[in-house]
Amino acid sequence: METYYNPADLAKFGKIGDFDKALADKFFSYYNEVFKEGALTAREKSLIALAVSHTVQCPYCIDAYTTDTLEKGCTEEQLMEAVHVAAAIRGGASLVHGVQMMNHTKKVMM
């Protein structure tokens, strides 16, 4: 069955360089640098990536960073907590606009 997302495409990510090698090289070089151990540990960065993957709703990223966090020694509980962080921020981002709604309501209503 043909679908928009194909799990096998994740492994072909590097092939974006076929159409523009210079930009792809710059991107992957930057990407690899970002995820290196730094002020944050590689494990912490991976958990952030997992949470962001859910926020941007990228199925490739979710598969990749689920595996990556597990490989870095995270537990299922930690993975789910990261997803809840993403959900809380997404939910909060909607809800905080409720203040704008309230401000506008107060302005236009008697």
């Binding site: 492994a11 494990r43 595996t67 597990l70 490989e71 870095k72 020694g73 537990t75 299922e76």
Partner: protein
Amino acid sequence: MKSLKASGHPFSISTLQLEHLHAHRSDQFTDRMADAGLHPLKPTRIEIFQINVGKMCNQTCKHCHVDAGPDRKEIMTRETLQRCLDILATHDIPTIDITGGAPEMNPHFRWFVEEAARLGKHIIDRCNLTILLANPKYYDLPQFLAKHRVEVVSSLPHYTAVRTDRQRGDGVFEKSIQAMRMLNEAGYGQEGTGLELNLVYNPTGAILPGPQQELEADFKRHLLSEHGVYFNKLYVITNMPISRFLDFLVVSGNYETYMQKLIDAFNPSAAMGVMCRNTLSIGWDGTLYDCDFNQMLDIKIQDAPVHIDHFDLDALTNRSIVVDQHCYGCTAGLGSSCGGQVV
């Protein structure tokens, strides 16, 4: 749960496992080793005699490469064990690594350890922990092992019960913790005693293991704070795509991805340090192999007599080690061996 052999599973036949590993794959392990200047792979020196004293075990773990379990009856005889001792007495091979199954279920285990200790060798018992509680006759094993200064190496796939039990069976985690307490009480894992209790972590699924140092810190923190038990080192190993783990990979639809992951992670530095270069594996019937994985795939050594009765150290030291597609498991990432990561 039955062993693959007892349930008549096709993967209980080693040739069918190898056929599966060879199918649809152009990335030949021998080519990668040749590119790394490591083909043919030669031993450095035989330092470890890894003796598989039998496939009988009180557990039936889902990932077991031996396909061990209570229904396996293959056990090394006293005569073969004596033959090993005779060789060890006359050759400079410093370490004896006793594995199984559950090695302690071999009726000659204690006699063998006593004799091996008399030779002044370093002895390792690959103990599954729960055997210490399986029968009253094993209750004093911690004291026995401590008396003979045996290093205990025990699988504990995770510091949480849910992950450990998923791989090793319901209730195994709790029993493993009790067994660790017994070993700690006998002096194991305590600073200054010299009695080493080392744990083995392997992933509970189709993923590669993370860095040993980080995982060891996690294990130590959780096991001490949540259960009050301690150990010396954590050996991190990769699951080999053979036997029950191969079956899991195929049934769960993870086989292709996992193999590709191992292939992509091929590391020449890890390949340099693979354990088959300093270890000789002896099967329950005295047959010689390059490693315990080759043993389970029935890939015998080449270029030297294949049975302990015709042991020839010179020929063994100069032989070429037999490698195949499953060897990608030992060379991926930070590498994998019975002593943990190699890089």
